[in-house]
Symmetry: C2
Subunit: 249 residues, 2 copies
């Protein structure tokens, strides 16, 4: 199954999950597709080639055409504002057209995506613009959440556990609601929100069960009980996990 329909033409757009950071957590399928795609695209910031490319580097053929999609500098615009959103959407439109030019020429394009493309990934912005025009396939990858859970002494979810996956960037009222009612929690994109999140976990009595995981599976991985962590801003991709209790209902 794929989003391909009979009316699509040209090369195939591959959204490829390259996993959470450790290059060994790439799948065999991701490695094969990279070997076979003549064009390799990836989102990155100005001055770098991005984390997804760093993970996949060993598997990008020397003769592949690389297509860096460089985020616009938006530091002067608050993220909540319409002007920021418009600029980012325009950037995704332009990126989709840059990719489409290769697809229209009949070349398959591999788009690298940290973790999994459909788990808060960047690839989807291309897929949502290009599906229907070109054939599209998504190759799932190991998520940062499962990589963050792996070193813990308890499973993230077992038996009848309900898991809530929650972006740590949510407004406080939404965050408070989202943290309640799950047996297990995975809080993403903790970053500068760490003090605010920790306070909400205190409020719900969850702090003693919470783990802090920075750079899951990558260089500089740090795994600590949240209670032992200073309540100051953390790197953007830091996660806070609360494993479920595994109680049967």
């Amino acid at each position: 199954m794929s989003s391909t329909t009979a009316s699509t033409t040209g090369g195939r757009l591959h959204g490829i999950g390259v996993g959470p950071g450790d290059p060994e957590l790439m799948t065999l399928k991701a490695v094969r597709l990279l070997r076979d795609c003549p064009v390799v695209a990836y989102f990155c910031r100005r001055g770098g080639r991005g984390q997804a490319r760093a993970i996949a580097e060993a598997h990008i053929p020397a003769d592949a055409t690389e297509l860096p999609l460089v985020y616009p500098v938006t530091t002067e615009l608050p993220h909540g504002e319409a002007a920021y959103r418009e600029r980012i959407e325009t950037f995704f439109d332009e990126s989709a057209e840059a990719v489409a030019a290769h697809l229209a020429a009949g070349h398959d394009v591999a788009v690298l995506n940290e973790g999994d493309p459909f788990y808060y990934g960047s690839f989807m912005h291309l897929q949502l613009r290009l599906q229907g025009r070109h054939p599209v396939s998504v190759t799932p990858g190991v998520t940062s959440t499962m990589a963050a859970a792996a070193p813990l002494p308890r499973p993230l979810v077992m038996r009848d556990d309900i898991l809530h996956v929650v972006p740590g960037t949510l407004p406080t009222a939404d965050l408070r609601r989202a943290l309640a009612g799950g047996d297990a929690l995975a809080i993403m994109k903790v970053g500068t929100n760490l003090p605010r999140i920790a306070e909400l976990l205190d409020e719900q009595g969850l702090t003693p069960r919470a783990w802090y995981v920075e750079a899951a599976s990558g260089e500089g991985e740090r795994v600590l009980p949240l209670s032992e962590v200073e309540r100051s801003p953390a790197p953007y991709f830091t996660q806070i996990l609360i494993p479920g209790t595994g109680e049967r209902r």
Copy 2:
């Protein structure tokens, strides 16, 4: 990081996620560890060698010692009953001791786990019994949920989406509560509960957004809008997914 402490001895216990079904969705790390571990254990039912072993088969060395951990036949006992639970817990105790005998002899043991070991996996029953005695590591894998999401026309979660992962085996009142409040839903272990789950989704107006995914990434994968599926019992590992809307808050 791992659950290893200085007081553990003997071989290392590896919980290895082999991914959701497609053998190509195994990670490079899983393949390497299988090549290097002299003992390969897996849970299975009587008369078969189990799905995890089928996925990993090509990577199990011919000279590896295989240790099948065969579930007791419990069809005569209702799953909710104390007698069933006791029998299963005894089975896990015995399985842990069978694995521990190899670890005590100084051999590393790879335990195969469909999907990811810490995402409703079976490995955890061994880890919870053996950590502290022997060194333990978990290798994360692609989950069945991300494999089920990959063929859909929309990402499972994007931007500020909150995801609820919900076992479809929950009692109806718990299930109803768990289905509410998430932007995106992944309902696991749908099986015979399909009619009951579909009714709850109808109740909450979610059916038009729901997808039915059987055998994600494996042979016989079926992906359909839930509205086009007959409301009768489905295979156990069938999932129902509702992608998030990606609205910003």
